[in-house]
Amino acid sequence: MKKPLLSTALLLCSLNVAAAGSKVLATGGATSIEGAAGGGIVPWAVINGYGSSGQWSVTGYASQVGVDDFTLNSKGIGLSYDNKYELSFGRQELKLDTMGGELNQQIIGLKYKIAGELLYSAMPQISVGLQLKKQLDFAIPAAVGARHDSGTDIYVAASKVWFDALWGRNILLNATVRGTKGQQTGLLGFGTVSNDDYQWVSEFSAVMLLNPQWAVGAEFKQKPNELAFAREDHWRDVFVAWFANKHLSLVAGHVDLGSIATFEHQTGYYLALESTWSF
């Protein structure tokens, strides 16, 4: 999956077409594992791609998280308009490397910017979003106590860039509040036999932009802990992002996913590739 995408991206970049969009480099963020523009594991208030007012943007992404006993492959496509509306189609494949087998999930994401401008307003940019998730291999989640094979996450996110904030560098902070019934973001189903209520969780990202092309950051994602058979931990990551230009970005990180389905101390790498085109 990754190699053809990379070579296509490089080929397209070398054509040097004008379809770059107006937004400032890096302000489209990266694409999170659920398909929304953001960091690696947190959806932000930013809208994907580089389409500014009146412009369209198309974004393709592929990422891989590799921890001790699992591998998560995510890929998908995003569409945005007017730096205000975002639509994404994502597909996740969780490989159970130690247990054997895999769990697939599809996610349709919607995001709408309701206020503020990431770079220009004193108020943070604020967006609301929906993620319609469908677990495609429900046998295992059902066996461990999940109630539904689908669920809808709702969230509100606030993001802001402060110029010249620390050591002359620009800082982006994001805070997201999410309502979810998902176990391990839905990969282990939604709701449990004993509890079918929404759980409210907070997610945070902090990023320092070292220069227009390079950024380093850290994220924290609070997780519910509802399944009886295994503890679910909060997620953390640190990352480096490189924005080659308005068509290509790469993110590499280290993740700590804690305990997953009784497998303890799941740590490892995160790699993401994104290509975006604006019109």
């Binding site: 107006s22 937004k23 480099l25 007012s53 220009y120 307003s121 004193a122 010249d164 002359g168 220069n211």
Partner: protein, 140 residues
């Protein structure tokens, strides 16, 4: 012990008395008069080549615009100038400037500053001063 305290106090004093940042720090970082002039000229070239925003300058007296922009960036960066033009709100009203237009100008400015080797910290300081003007410039 007394010696230790005394040297600690001395260190503290030295630390506190280290020269505060001069008022024209940013102006000097941008290259003072020569640098600011080059920055504006570079920006004018970018504007001229940008079909998205060049239309807004169809009726603009470019030499006057250039002079005012140099004045404005000079004053804004702590240089020895006085901006003699209209307020941002007055000078942009009626132009229907969009977010995309504003984004493009920021993009051009970063490109020109980078090409002229303005340090990243100084670039960000200038952007910090210009970004709040968005509300006075766009959709007026």
């Amino acid at each position: 012990m007394v010696v230790l305290i005394r040297s600690a106090l001395l260190l503290l004093l030295v630390g506190c008395s280290s020269a505060p940042e001069p008022k024209d720090w940013l102006y000097q970082q941008l290259g003072a008069e020569t640098g600011v002039t080059r920055l504006v000229d570079g920006l004018l070239v970018e504007i001229e080549q940008d079909p998205q925003i060049v239309q807004h300058f169809a009726d603009t007296d470019i030499p006057r615009f250039r002079k005012l922009l140099i004045e404005q960036l000079c004053e804004l960066s702590g240089g020895p100038c006085r901006y003699s033009g209209a307020t941002m709100q007055e000078s942009h009203t009626g132009f229907q400037i969009t977010q995309a237009d504003f984004d493009n100008l920021v993009d051009h400015l970063i490109k020109v500053m980078t090409a002229q080797q303005v340090p990243v910290g100084a670039q960000n300081r200038l952007l910090a001063k210009l970004a709040p003007m968005y509300k006075d410039v766009v959709y007026r």
